[in-house]
């Protein structure tokens, strides 16, 4: 852990796709046990930040300090093994594998298979619907169930921090509530979470702190309580258009 007690610190991150500069100079921190939310309109660069942190897209500039070490540029599999994982936007469950296989592969980075089995039992208890359908192909699940599976699969690596990219995407309001309750429960059980969202109200309700990203720049940050209902977030969103 670094001297400031940050589990994850993103410092001056830039992400480019050819000539497109998707993220310019983003910095943010997540401390252990926090839920931090990263908000922003479509195309603001939220996923680009998460993907760059995980090594899925190249870091053009800046540092990604995880537990005091710069991991920028490392391949995703190495970063996962260090204890940081991403639940990607759009869920991306392995639809050609069963639910049990999805969970099993989620624990691929762990050496102790009996501990992994314990986590799996834990996850199936937390998500009873997955337990009922464990031998069914993941592609047969509904959108909300697939999101639960994606989160459970990410937790199977027993990460120190999990990055969640728009878990509410495309889900009915009722299911979104369920998913957010689950995120809170995961935090209560000791997980640290960086939550990317477009559902501003719900995200700020469960987060400790928040950042707002607009066209590649962090334009606002602060404790969630201050951001909530202050109107600043809406203005920051507007400013991005």
């Amino acid at each position: 852990m670094s001297e400031q007690g940050n589990l994850l610190a993103i410092e001056g991150l830039a992400v480019r796709y050819g000539a497109i500069e998707a993220v310019r100079n983003a910095s943010l921190e997540v401390r252990e046990g926090e839920i931090v939310t990263l908000l922003g309109a479509n195309g603001a660069g939220k996923s680009s930040i998460l993907n760059a942190v995980m090594g899925l897209v190249p870091v053009a500039e800046g540092r990604v300090v995880f537990e005091g070490q710069d991991v920028a540029g490392q391949p995703p599999e190495r970063i996962v093994r260090r204890g940081m994982t991403l639940c990607p936007e759009g869920r991306h469950v392995f639809s050609n594998l069963t639910i049990a296989e999805n969970l099993k592969i989620g624990a691929a980075s762990r050496r102790d298979k009996s501990e992994a089995a314990a986590t799996q039992a834990d996850m199936l208890a937390l998500f009873p619907i997955l337990d009922e359908r464990r031998d069914q192909l993941a592609g047969t699940l509904s959108g909300g169930e697939q999101q639960m599976l994606a989160i459970a699969r990410a937790m199977m690596s027993q990460p120190k921090i999990v990055l969640l990219d728009e878990p509410s995407l495309g889900l009915a309001p009722q299911i979104v509530d369920t998913i957010f309750e689950l995120i809170v429960r995961l935090r209560d059980r000791g997980a640290t979470i960086l939550l990317v969202e477009q559902n501003v109200d719900l995200a700020l309700e469960i987060a400790d702190r928040g950042y707002v990203l607009a066209t590649g720049d962090i334009v606002l940050s602060g404790p969630a309580a201050d951001l909530r209902g202050s109107g600043d977030v809406e203005r920051a969103y507007m400013g991005s258009h």
Partner: protein, 294 residues
Amino acid sequence: MEIFVQQFINALALGGTYALLALGLAMVFSVLGLINFAHGELMTITGYAMFFAIAAGIPFPIAVILGIAAATLAAILMERIAFRPVRDANTATMLLTSFAVSTILHMLFQNLISARPKAIPVPDWMIGAINLGGLSIGVIQVMSITATTLLLLALTVFLRRSILGIAMRAASLDFPVTRLMGINANAVIATAFGISGLLAGVAGVLWLAQRGSVDPLMGFLPVLKAFIAVVLGGLGSLPGAVLGGFVLAFIEVSLRAFLPDDWLPFRESITLTLVIILLLVRPEGLLGRKDAVR
């Protein structure tokens, strides 16, 4: 009746060889999106490894093992030396690389060994036939069917039970997210190549046992057939590749057995026409996904 059973067994044996080759092609394709044109050369390498082993006085069964090991090792080296450096380039670059690998290996075989076929003496007991309830079945056929069955079973267990096997199925759908599970990309790809080499090696032994000789172009025809089998079964589907191999062999063997003599020269064209008709009816292949383009 007897002739039907006989031909059925012939088709099973030939289909097994096609299936092993097609499965190797499909395995590499499913994780890398590459049709490896140098796949046939792996068979040829098995042939030459066996030829030199036997020439050095090594007993036939050990030569078989060496031949299969040589193809497996060659496949792994191929990936490490030729394909890994261009992995992040586009598909066309990888395709061209596999053409280059194939051409270079041809040239090496021709110039360092010989353009002429080299005989591989098959032990007498393999050439015979065994009597099964009034039916005489070639030993090689029996070995083909047994080897294919055992390999397909072992591979199924590997793909269903082991983490690496599950990872290979996951990678065929979504490679980046598979890496997010902590799966090493190099390990998955190297394993796919290793298995494809092993399967090509076994197919090579079965092919050689029928023909009794190896030449630089030996792998070309069977792998062309395997490629047709992969497309027929559904590009990207592993069970499809196996099924495609058997269907192709059944078409070929039936035509050879039941076509009038003066039609026989058109056998290959008729086979291909039938395959094309099948693909017109089911463009995604027999077991391919309709949404395969993703």
